[in-house]
Symmetry: C2
Subunit: 342 residues, 2 copies
Amino acid sequence: MSESDQLPRATRILLDGHGGDHAPNVVIEAIARLQAGKSASVEFGIVGRPNELEPILASHNLASRAEIVPATEVVEMHESPAVALRRKKDSSMHVGARLLRDGKWDAFVSGGNTGALMAIPKFILKTLAGIDRPAIASMIPAIGGRTLMLDAGANVDCSSDHLLQFAIMGSCYMQAAEGLESPRVGLLNIGSEDIKGTDVVKMAATKLKETDLNFIGNVEGTDIFRGTVDVVVCDGFVGNVALKCMEGTAEFVLHHLKSELASSMAAKAGTLFAKGALERFKAGIHPGEYNGAPLLGLNGIVVKSHGSADAYAFASAIELAHREVKSGLSARIVDAVNGWTD
Amino acid sequence: MSESDQLPRATRILLDGHGGDHAPNVVIEAIARLQAGKSASVEFGIVGRPNELEPILASHNLASRAEIVPATEVVEMHESPAVALRRKKDSSMHVGARLLRDGKWDAFVSGGNTGALMAIPKFILKTLAGIDRPAIASMIPAIGGRTLMLDAGANVDCSSDHLLQFAIMGSCYMQAAEGLESPRVGLLNIGSEDIKGTDVVKMAATKLKETDLNFIGNVEGTDIFRGTVDVVVCDGFVGNVALKCMEGTAEFVLHHLKSELASSMAAKAGTLFAKGALERFKAGIHPGEYNGAPLLGLNGIVVKSHGSADAYAFASAIELAHREVKSGLSARIVDAVNGWTD
């Protein structure tokens, strides 16, 4: 339905005008950045309060390049997802999800409240046939490539069937959107041996062995970064803790590095010489180009941007949504899941 | 019983001669390192196969300074803990745990198979009154200090009562061994709000609020490194994944930094100047002085050393065991747990 490469029209991407710490400014600046580059084949919409959005669009000379889609309410960043789902029917997330459901737009990108962005589109769009729960997938930089980890926080309690479905969705994603032929799928565990882990994880391993996924078995947290696995599967509690520990370690390492480099005159001189290298290094471990976490398993394409994303990072999330529209991912997931359940 | 500061004799520390990738060499080199420094107040034993241990001890002129305690069997690094527990009754771990139980030694330090080092001492020593399960505690470097995380891998499935007991043990440890007056205790979760997390975690938070621990609520993975919390509580699956993700991130960051620094001539010059700072930086994020994970909750003092520890790191684990013997930790834990359960 929304696979626009089969249609003689541009890809239509709708952006949440009120999601994220720096919206709507970074959202509109991201459009400006993408318009400057290329993308005559993409049409943009921005959903939210027209009186707030119009002046900013006009100030960027984008009034004719992005359609304003009215929505009167805003889901706050720390609002209860259940309350937002029930009470804010005219929020930008509700309006966006309904328009996606009705085929008016091909993808929805939001930097807003993660829980609400799971709950509202799930309620309105429903999940793909054969998928019980959508998952947030997070792309993590690794030596020699990148690793997709899911679920990164949508589902705190998961059954082995849920983990199996995450594995299928992650594998399909890496094929469709990243072009890998046979993505290596690993199950996040506390050791490589079959006896390790919870009953749910052990059962998931048994089921994964019966699929024709390229399942390489249990992997540990260290493997995520070593380029030895393409898709890492876990429940959303573990995935979220893992991501936050990575972020914390990177912060700590940078802090430590800065204080070490500042601690001696020789090092200070070194810092001047190495400045460019250090800047690239920081960009490499907090890579804006990896911003954008696809919400996999929904009957429609929804991408979560980091709440603190800048315009460069938000544009990356938009480009990711564009690739996903072009990739035919949804049909691939449905085919793959039905392959196991038939 | 084993609180040697109340006794007119030296602290007696027994070392596993066959635990870890580089045993027995690093174990004996660690003794040499500590003997050279100070510690007339510590007596060492090394448990294992005398024909393997004697020549190495002799080559370090330590034959008179460390007692060899015979054990004929070795638990292999990847052996099933259940099998090792049942079938290798004369392993260095079995013999060590029995001698600890009988009061012949005050502490046991091993770099061996983690699962076996939980299972065998737990079976032989039993847990402290009021503690259902021992936990592995891991000290993590943080900005401005250090954070104790437990459980780091001993218990994959935990109830809210287990998490509560971990919190009490962690708080007691930071008081007794690290000298903190009122350690801040956080519950590892995927957000700070009360509605976040699994039912087990939510129930644990409710119970923690009823204690007089300095419970600061839910914390996220990023908080571990920020110096805002002293004890972080989680189940052993989450804790192990968290630790491995930290290790993987640090590895990745170092790899990335090296390749960035090597990528330009200016950076190469910078590397020469900054070399000392980078060396200290690497030591800081893989700190040997933090080697040694106490197994808390056992009726006896057992410390796990990293399997790949060098002599310097193994010596740190021994010093940690020494501090724990001196600290009166076990009595403090029993008092604290009974305070809640009476």
